[in-house]
Structures are given as C-alpha cells and as structure tokens.
Amino acid sequence: MSQPATHHNKAAAAFLKNGQRAQWHDETLWFVRAKRDKAAHQIPEWEALRNLGSQIKEHTLSNLDEYLLQFEANAKKNGIKVHWANNAAEHNQIVYEILLHHNAVNVVKSKSMLTEECGLNHYLTERKISVVDTDLGEYIVQLRNEPPSHIVLPAIHLKKEDVSNTFHKHLHTEKNNQDPVYLTRAARQVLRKKFITADAAITGVNFAVAETGGIVVCTNEGNADLGVHANKVHIACMGFEKIIPRAQDLSVFLRLLARSATGQPITTYSSHFHRPKAGQEMHIVLVNNGRTEQLGREAFRNSLKCIRCAACFNTCPVYRRSGGHSYHNSVAGPIGSILAPNLDMRKNADLPFASTLCGSCTNVCPVKINIHEQLWSWRQVLMAEGYGGAAKKTSMKLMTGVLSKPAIYRLSAGMARFFMRYLPFLVNNRLNPWYKQRDMPSVPKESFKDWYKKNRNHE
C-alpha cells in the first residue's frame, strides 16, 4: 500500500527517534492534563456543565442558519461590517481587500486557528503584507517558519534551548541564554513595537453571540486587546461553529474552556468586542470552509460542537508521543483527526487510524463530542471510499473469509500455531512490525478448543 510522505505513522516514528524529547513532550502535556483534572474535580457539577454545553451546541447546530443571520443583523446594528466566505480562498481575499482599502501593510494578529486553516499568513505575505503573530508561542513558531503543533500551546514541541536559538538568530538575543524571563522580555520588546506601528489587527473569535452581535476572544497574554485597541482596523475571523445563541450561554462555555484547556479557572483575558471604538472600523468574516458539509454528515456533525480547548490533545497518548506536526493538519490531535477528512479525504485518510480508540478524548471533551466513535466511523467511510488501497482490502477479505468459516479457521489457526512453534523465524523477522521491539507470544502445545474437547465436551 503506498502511503503519502506525510503519513502519521512515519512522522510519529521520526518524532520518537529523539527519545528524550518525546518523553519530555509526553510528560509536559500529561502535566497539563493532570492540571485539567484537578480544575474539573473542583466543580462538583462538572458533568452537568458538560451536558449543558453539549446541549446548547446541539441546539445551535440545529438552528445554525437562523443564529448566523441573527448574529449578522445584530452585528450590523452595532456598526460592524459583516462578510461571508464560503471557503479559505474567499476568506483570504476578503481580508486582503479590507487591508488594501486601508493601505495596511503591517498587520498584527492574535492567535487564530481559522486563519491557519485558511493559510492566511502565506497568502498575505505573498502580497507584500507583513503579518506578525503576537501570541508568544505562535510568534516563536512563526519565526521558525513552522506551523503551530498544538491549538492552545503552539510551540509545545520546542524546548527552552530551541527558543533561545531561534531568538538568537532572529532577535539577536545572547547566544545560549535560556532564561525564560530574559527571552520573554526580548520578544515583548519587539512585539510592543509591532503593536503600535501596525496598520490593522486581526483576531480570532472564541464565541460569537447571536443575541448581541458581539464576539469574545480569550487570550492569556492580552495580545488581542493590545492589537485591537492600538489599531484603526479590526478584522475578526471566525468559523460558522463559533456561534452561540445568548450572552448568558457564555457563563457555561467560559467555565468549560479554560479548565479544559489549561486547568485555569478562567482565561486571563476574556475580551468582549461589541462595536468599533470611535474612529475604528470593525469587520467580522464568517467562514464556512466545509462546515456546512460536515453539518450534513450525520455521523460527524457533532464535531462542530468543538470549542478548541485541546483537552483531547493533552489526554491523547498518541498525540503526546507523536507531536502535533505528525497530523499534517492545522488542527492536530483527536479532534483534528475527525475534522481533517472532511476537508480532504485523500490527504487525511491516515488520521482516523492514528488512535487506539481508547476513548479518553471523548471523556475529557467539555462539550461531549463522541470523538473516538467518529474516528471509528471515519475509518468505515474512508475504506468504503477506497482510500485504504487495494492490498489492504484484499487481505481483509481473505481474513474475513477465514474467520467466518469455522472449518477453515481451525485449519489455518492450527497452521499458524504450528509455524510459530517450530519455525519461529518465519514470524520473528524484521518484516514483522510486531517483532521489531516486541517478542512474539510463546506457543502452547494445544489450543483451548483442543483442551476443551478432551476435558469437557458436552456435545
């Protein structure tokens, strides 16, 4: 079976080659997961809160068209300019035209996975517009010309020495100075200048409230506020699924989001933007990019409930060991693995298989997305659509043939045991991925079936 060069298992194996770093990655994210557990357990009504969050999202998705239109009407009343983009290209073009209209060439951006999904930075850079990501982690990976590896902790795959080297190269900090305070100050000095000399600010959106026409952006660094308040143009980009019906629903989601993401009771800055300030222009771009298609896929519509907390990343033992880049998609981890095939089945056919279906992702999800079940369902869809390759299908057919016919099964199982017992080199070789780092089970003299016939047969 031919595999794309970016196949998850190959990228994961490469990430694991540096054993120490991989172990550090696993332990660091486990620390975040443990922090989340502590924060969740401090709320006795946690499971009820999850139910409520899930139900609000369920209701919203069932009436998505109405809430989007209500949001648009209310935002316009507030003096916000609203744009609709059906795909990534339209989104990028809309943003570009707004910037062009204001002769904006320097843009500061607060973290937005949607703009990652749409490839906005690359698009604008090609058109001679400078975009600076102002979230510290995002800034680090931007300097390195890498995509973020985690939606909440974009530079979690990097260690202090990597950041030190990156800053030395790009910001001319002292070589080998790995003091986090020193490094953060250096970045802050550069970023402060960017904030005040920029022509426009782009932010993401965590929640868009239909009832008020306002948006909420959550950051721990206050960088969205700095960008928006220092600039005359604010462009907020959001996927359709960010909509919630009422302002009071925020009380549910803001409690769930920060605890699930980082174990904080609340994000440091929950910034509410309802209208442009005097002399400012505010735009909101509402982006579809495959979301309505996913809404139409019965088995996968639940994935649109996602509030991008990344709890499923942190808990996922596969993600912790393989790193975010192995998922070759803007959203990595378990949730990314069910969102990505919707965007491109061929390119992302490997991702639903990058899971043991252990179900931990489903359990931590604050809005109760049945992630592991959707991973299973995607596998069925992808194989039915022929993305598994002919060889896999043939071998599965062969296996099914044997397993559904007891007589053939008995014969072949007996043969397998015979070969393993007397000719172990047939299975104990490098072509067998099991044997690479694991011994094969030793072979008993008789199967249970043989034992049973001798000792218990009632028939």
Binding site: W376, R417, R438
Partner: protein
Amino acid sequence: MKVGLFIPCYVDQFYPQVAVATLELLERYGCEVHYPLKQTCCGQPMANSGFASMAGGCDKNFIANFSGYEYIVCPSGSCALHIKEHLHSAEEPNEAAAIRERIYELTEFITDVLKLEGVKASFPHKVGLHVSCHGQRMLHLSSMSEKVEKSFSKAEALLGTVDGLELFRTSRADECCGFGGTFCVTEEAVSVSMGNTRIKEHLANGVHYITGGDMSCLMHLEGLLKRQKIDIKVIHLAEILNAQ
C-alpha cells in the same frame, strides 16, 4: 444458569490457560458452561480497520454459535464490547439483539450477575493492574480519571478479596497501553512507546505480575517485557481469581 463461553480467537490459540481459568471459575460458582466449538473471531480486527462492512460472515457465525444462551461470558472487555456495539444481522435481527443484551465481560458477570462480593482465591504476590480502555471507558468496569464521578473498580474489588495479593496502583491509572488492535503494527513506534510508559510505572512499583481483563493488552506488554528481559510476568485476571 446456562452460560455460553466466548473465547477470543487469539486467547484460544496462544493463551488457553486463560480460557481454562475462566471456565473453571464460572463452574466453581455454579454456572453450566458450554463452549460452542464453531466459534472463531468477533470481527473486531476488521471493523476497527474500517471494514465493518465485511464482518457479516463473522456476525452470522457468532449468532449461530451463541443464540439461546442465557448469558454469554468473555474474558476480554474489548471483544465483548465489539459484540455489544456492533453485532448485527439483517436476517436474524432478534437473535443479534438478544446476544448484544446478554454478553458480559468476565468481571462484570461475576460482580453484576453472580453478585459475588469476593472470590476464594490465593495469590501471594505483588500485582499491578492494567486497566484496559474498552472495558473501562465503554463497558464502565471502573470509574474514569477524566470524569468527575464516584471512584469504583470491579476488578480491584475482586482482587481485593484474593488472599495474599498486594495491589499496586500506577499514577496514570487508566492510560492506554498502546495495543489498539491493528494499531500495534500500523503505528508500531507509538504503540511501543505507549507500552513502555506503562511498564515503567509498574517497574517503579516493584510488582511481580501485571494483570488485566484483556489478554490483548497483556500480550503487547508481555512482548515488550520479554524483549527487554524485565522480570515481570503478565497474568490474566481470570487466572488470579481462579488461583488456589
């Protein structure tokens, strides 16, 4: 109480002692146990690989073997779960539904159907428990660390009544071992890394045995232990509960 014994294919072939222990245990507590001879595999390997559509023959064979039993008991949470969730038949929908209702994982059966509060067994060793994901998170055999819920464990409760057994918990109590069916070969590197993390925790506790309700997880851990020449043995829960 007439019980159909469902022994997963790889247990039949590689770990017959687990099946024998399960059988003897059920008999000791008053069950009339039958092992239908024409059973093969539940079809989980195909379904988890994305070929559930091909599992019809396995389903048919399973129904032919297990229709009519009051209870079906399996010493594997994962295989029991597969039947519970995915056994279907267009021709025999009622039989399939009855089987889905009546299938139990072994410790679940002992606790919830036989309602035994303990077992008469002796196993004077230091033991670590590997909590298997499907049994725990989908069959609810124990509480889950991600959820805010009352703590319980059917396996631990039973192990607690075994004479001389010293149980050691790991700090990541319910993290997946990385077996994951075909995952263990398609994602070999991640699978091995996950298994080694589990082993490291048990090793730190100084246990002599790692036990669990799913032989597949234990087979994966055993493969790693043997290759690294680590002196910890794996043993299925049924063998401990049946140990005299």
